[in-house]
């Protein structure tokens, strides 16, 4: 739904100032890195100046639905690593928990500070052509991308101020304070630090920009050490500063070589012990992968009913699990109309559209699904809304999704903006930046 004033001339709009905005983004080093054929390349993130506009009415629904969903997911994570009521009550088969690569037995019984597991949740949604919003994916480990619309807004306001004074667009520049509140709330006493694997990480710009805005210390593992189950940052004078919150931007399996992958060169030995003792808030909590597993996604509406006794306000895309015989039969009979996702893959990889496979390949794929039913989910292809993007001088329509950010601290809040990602390929549904996609700002109208 687009409700911007129409009186603005092109010169007042971001599209009319696309070159200026891109020049500013370049100047501020808004980049992301990609490894291709083993070589690291840093490139500017393609920004499309035409924003996605969401009406206040639509966003109110999204906001309520996301708070509900993330609340249930946080309750699920506590439950799984403690009582496991949801398994005992037969809501989710235990196979889906214990066979999930995101389930970490090392986290059993650990209570994260303030009992928050997913502090920063990145929930991917799409809007169907009927206007209805669908959840595509929950990202509860290290969801990235908030920094891009954040800085794009800052710079777009410089280049196209008039459109902001003429329209009730919610200011999204509060992300840093939302994030800082979240880091502070769980802090166990000490500094806030953001742990980055280093400059060659795809999201390094985001790590450093968020560190700047939240006044956190940006650190790498060799600057940290654990002593008596307390995490410290070592300064150049040899002093040690206690770290109270670690917003880590590295995956669970690399975080502590003494607990997870021993060969990890980017982890911090013994951090798991500090975490277990409740001396450090790790954001997001370790072990969250069990809740954003693509197989578990199927059960999130059931979780909402189970934990909150409420009907889900936002729908999943219609999903089938070959694990269930009835679903498997449906998938095999309708595979040419479905999209099949490998639950162990992410970043737009492991996604197969049945209609794109040859007869032979389709047959092969059916065998794989039959033999490894836990490995896949199948979804109806949602004919989601296309958005206009600038292609040279003209606007063309492309598929786009929305990553909304939900921050859980003293309360659970939804950022009034989000990362809109689009496919640059007219025939593609894949919007991931790692696969050549670009981004847009997301304007939420405040009235």
């Amino acid at each position: 739904m687009r409700e911007l004033k129409n009186e603005n001339s092109l010169a007042d709009t971001p599209a009319g100032n696309a070159n200026e905005i891109n020049e500013l983004l370049r100047r501020y080093g808004v980049k992301f890195g990609i490894y291709k054929n083993g070589v690291f390349n840093e490139q500017f993130f393609p920004f499309d100046p035409i924003p996605r506009v969401i009406s206040a009415e639509h966003f109110a629904v999204i906001e309520k639905g996301l708070i509900q969903r993330v609340t249930a997911l946080n309750m699920f994570l506590y439950d799984i690593y403690h009582e496991k009521r949801i398994i005992k009550d037969n809501i989710i088969p235990e196979d889906f928990i214990y066979m999930s690569s995101g389930y970490l037995p090392q986290c059993e019984g650990i209570m994260p500070p303030k009992n928050i597991y997913s502090h920063i949740s990145g929930i991917d949604l799409v809007q169907g052509k009927d206007g209805k919003w669908y959840i595509l994916e929950d990202n509860l480990r290290i969801p990235s991308g908030a920094s891009y619309p954040l800085i794009a807004r800052e710079l777009t306001r410089v280049a196209s101020p008039k459109i902001f004074s003429d329209n009730p667009i919610a200011d999204n520049r509060n992300y840093a304070s939302l994030l800082k509140d979240t880091l502070d709330f769980s802090n166990c006493g000490g500094i806030n630090a953001i742990l980055t694997p280093g400059r060659c990480n795809a999201a390094y710009f985001e790590h450093s920009y968020l560190a700047e805005l939240t006044e956190s210390v940006l650190v790498q593992n060799h600057e940290l050490f654990v002593e008596n189950n307390i995490l410290y940052h070592k300064t150049y004078s040899g002093e040690k500063n206690k770290v109270g919150t670690l917003y880590r931007r590295i995956s669970d399996e690399y975080l502590d070589p003494l607990t997870f992958i021993p060969q990890s060169l980017i982890g911090i030995p013994n951090i798991m012990e500090a975490y277990r003792c409740g001396n450090i808030a790790i954001i997001n909590a370790i072990g969250n992968g069990v809740a954003d597993d693509k197989g578990i996604y199927y059960f999130v509406p059931k979780m909402i009913k189970y934990y909150l006794n409420e009907e889900p306000m936002l729908s999943n895309a219609p999903t089938y699990l070959p694990f269930y015989e009835k679903d498997k039969k449906y998938i095999l009979d309708h595979i040419d109309k479905l999209v099949i996702k490998d639950v162990s893959e992410s970043g737009g990889y492991g996604v197969t559209f049945g209609k794109e496979l040859s007869k032979e390949k389709l047959q092969e794929f059916k065998s794989v699904i039959t033999n490894e039913p836990r490995r896949f989910i199948a979804q109806e292809i949602i004919d989601f809304l296309e958005l206009p993007i600038m292609d040279g001088e003209k606007a063309v329509m492309r598929k786009a999704d929305l990553r909304a950010f939900v921050l859980s601290g003293e309360s659970t809040r939804v950022w009034s903006s989000g990362l809109t990602r689009f496919s640059r390929n007219p025939d593609s549904f894949v919007v991931n930046s790692s696969q050549g996609g670009g981004f847009k700002d997301t304007w939420v109208l405040s009235q």
Partner: protein, 230 residues
């Protein structure tokens, strides 16, 4: 005391050094280029001799071009600017996005100057502006004195090093040395960039010999190189 790690202290110090190297090299190249307009076209030879470098350029045009734009020339503005940026990009949260943006702008300006059909000196003017803006941001946006101190130590060590080698007038050497000393005194004890008293005294002694400091140029450069305890 702040929360600067050893690695960050190195990055901050070298950001100061490389940014200054860009600035002073640029100023000297501009001077050389200007001299070439109506003076001895081989004047650049003296510049090379000061750094103990052979003339592999053949003429002033090639020399200036290489010292400005050649990323593979370790003495070039382009090389030093890239190094400054490499250090700056991992210090965004320390120096501010604003300051970092001026290093990116400086890089873009140098690229534009390389491709520009206009006069070289004219094309390079915005590069100087970007560097001044960078240092302005450092003064305006950084509230952590330790970061500013380390940056300034890097800046004035580099400036003195280049002034020594380029045999600047003792008057300027003394002024820059005083500036350096002001910052050196602020570096906390037990940190890698705390000064080494012996070499600081040696440096002070050499500079106090007035015009004759050039006789002990090697000692001066050596003392500067050993100035820190690390």
């Amino acid at each position: 005391m702040g929360v600067i790690s050893v690695e960050h202290s190195d990055r901050i110090f070298w950001l100061g050094r490389y940014t200054e190297r860009v600035f002073t090299t640029l100023k000297n190249l501009e001077k050389q280029y200007d001299s070439m307009i109506d003076d001895d076209p081989m004047i650049y030879m003296e510049f090379l001799q000061n750094f103990g470098l052979d003339d592999i350029y053949g003429n002033m045009q090639n020399f200036v071009s290489s010292f400005l734009f050649d990323q593979n020339n370790l003495h070039s503005v382009a090389y030093s600017l890239e190094k400054a940026y490499d250090n700056g990009i991992v210090l965004r949260e320390n120096i501010s996005s604003k300051a970092l943006s001026f290093l990116q702008l400086a890089k873009d300006t140098l690229n534009k100057a390389f491709n520009s059909q206009k006069g070289l000196l004219f094309s390079l003017l915005p590069l100087e502006d970007s560097l001044f803006a960078f240092w302005g941001c450092i003064n305006e946006y950084i509230y952590d004195d330790e970061i500013i101190t380390l940056l300034m130590c890097g800046k004035y060590v580099e400036r003195l090093d280049l002034y020594f080698r380029l045999k600047y007038d003792i008057k300027y050497i003394k002024l820059e040395f005083e500036r350096l000393c002001d910052y050196l005194k602020k570096v906390p004890e037990n940190t890698p960039y705390r000064y080494n008293a012996k070499y600081l005294n040696d440096l002070s002694e050499i500079i106090d010999i007035k015009e004759k400091y050039t006789d002990r140029l090697n000692d001066a450069v050596k003392s500067l190189g050993n100035l820190f305890l690390k």
